[in-house]
Symmetry: C2
Amino acid sequence: MLGFAERLVEAVRRFKTPLCVGIDPRWDQIPLAVRQPFGGAVPNSLEAVALAYETFCGRVLELVAGKVGVVKFQVAFFEQCGSHGIACLERLLVKARELGLLNIQDGKRNDIASTATAYAEAAFGGPSFGGKRFLVHSIDAITVNPYLGSDAVEPFIQQARSFQGGIFILVRTSNPGAGLFQDLMCPEEKLYRQVAKLVESFNLGNSGPAGFGDVGAVVGATYPAELAELRQLMPNTLFLVPGYGAQGASASDLAGAFRPDGTGAVINSGRAITFAAKTNQPDWESQLEMACEKAKGELAEVCPL
Amino acid sequence: MLGFAERLVEAVRRFKTPLCVGIDPRWDQIPLAVRQPFGGAVPNSLEAVALAYETFCGRVLELVAGKVGVVKFQVAFFEQCGSHGIACLERLLVKARELGLLNIQDGKRNDIASTATAYAEAAFGGPSFGGKRFLVHSIDAITVNPYLGSDAVEPFIQQARSFQGGIFILVRTSNPGAGLFQDLMCPEEKLYRQVAKLVESFNLGNSGPAGFGDVGAVVGATYPAELAELRQLMPNTLFLVPGYGAQGASASDLAGAFRPDGTGAVINSGRAITFAAKTNQPDWESQLEMACEKAKGELAEVCPL
């Protein structure tokens, strides 16, 4: 199998779009018709919520599978359903792969090296118990938080590379208060640029034919100047860009994310696509498809693929 | 119910020890006798691993319940068993509470505010679907990573406070490479001190009768000078201190963590207690109890409770 960076660039080129559809299920926003067998407005149980998520998200995957190459699952919304939610997420990750979609699991995990290894094994390849390997999740890439430093990030990289997976390290997040620590001068350069340099260093000498390594960066679309600046600072690093759509960034904010050939970034949009319809609208599937095509059209204006 | 800080200080005083037992199950280190029904050296399935973890960790909780007031669960090792592991963790959290143990779920979660809220609801009080609340985890406190800044941490604090829970924000982690970013001068003071000041600010005006607020800090025992310095900088903040025991810090490294009255910190020790015995030793329970008493004795030397 090709490495993650090659597979991501290939997926972006195949569908001629950097769009990544974000799978962030929220009970109250799912079409009522989908919720009906699971209790309607009020769910029967946590397991019913998880099963409704599986039905809805499974259908979303089918609807977008011919249109985009990448999807991102936000773990928090599945954790809200406890173990039922995790079981549902496991099956959805498999389904995404079966549909030919690359999947990113957005859990922003982080810990000291021995524990980071445990997380990384669960994500890539599966842990080994008594010398036997057990597959847990079928994941292509995960997100990782860098606060603990390089030795805490490296186990994720090693395990990802061993199984043709990738990681995206948080560099510049999309939230309004992202700068509180990330913008501190440390001492002559901002913290997020220090993190960016670490990320890029992992890719030096490790880039594939497409010119990127398997260690990506999360860079928010809500900070367009930083996005363009980081593209220069990290020429061999793939970006996962949140913030476009419901979080407020527009397509024109994204121009700086790409290389001249249009590669280099996937742009995530979740709610604006998956919840395009009101919950009582029977044509939610076609509205979702239209929202996906609309986003692709907007991105085509700024991404010269 | 009392707030989290009051409950933690009360638990520490009741058992006259700051010791917190870390629950970090690893298949290959669990007594063979416990693993036998689940496959012996090689487990039958991921579910069998989770059930062995539940048996072992459940017994650990029973053994330490009369000796310490607090336990910490490392989520990564349960995630290694997929949804089965999360189901097992859910039941162990309940069991810990039933045994009168305060529980800390160590998952180091972090995300933008709307997603942080989803994590926080899963941890404290349970999410609301269609206006009805569903309990997910029975958690007293969780760990949180601060890289995203204040607006991403606040949903955890709000939700915790609403349900008498607490959070511990990573300030100075225990890993060898912790300083890569945490020690950067930003621009005149190190990053971890900037994070420390944010944490302390959440507790100003929010401290209970014991003198602490519900927003704690993770500060590694492996950096004794920083531990003492942070105790001064954060007088109203409870510390969760990893690194004692298997990670290499000794009890004498911990003296700076406490207030003069011995309150202010819980000291985590996991593997050194739970895996005190070799896997083939039938007296593992008594060895575990002895290791727990030994740690309590060492800590009593430096903690004037």
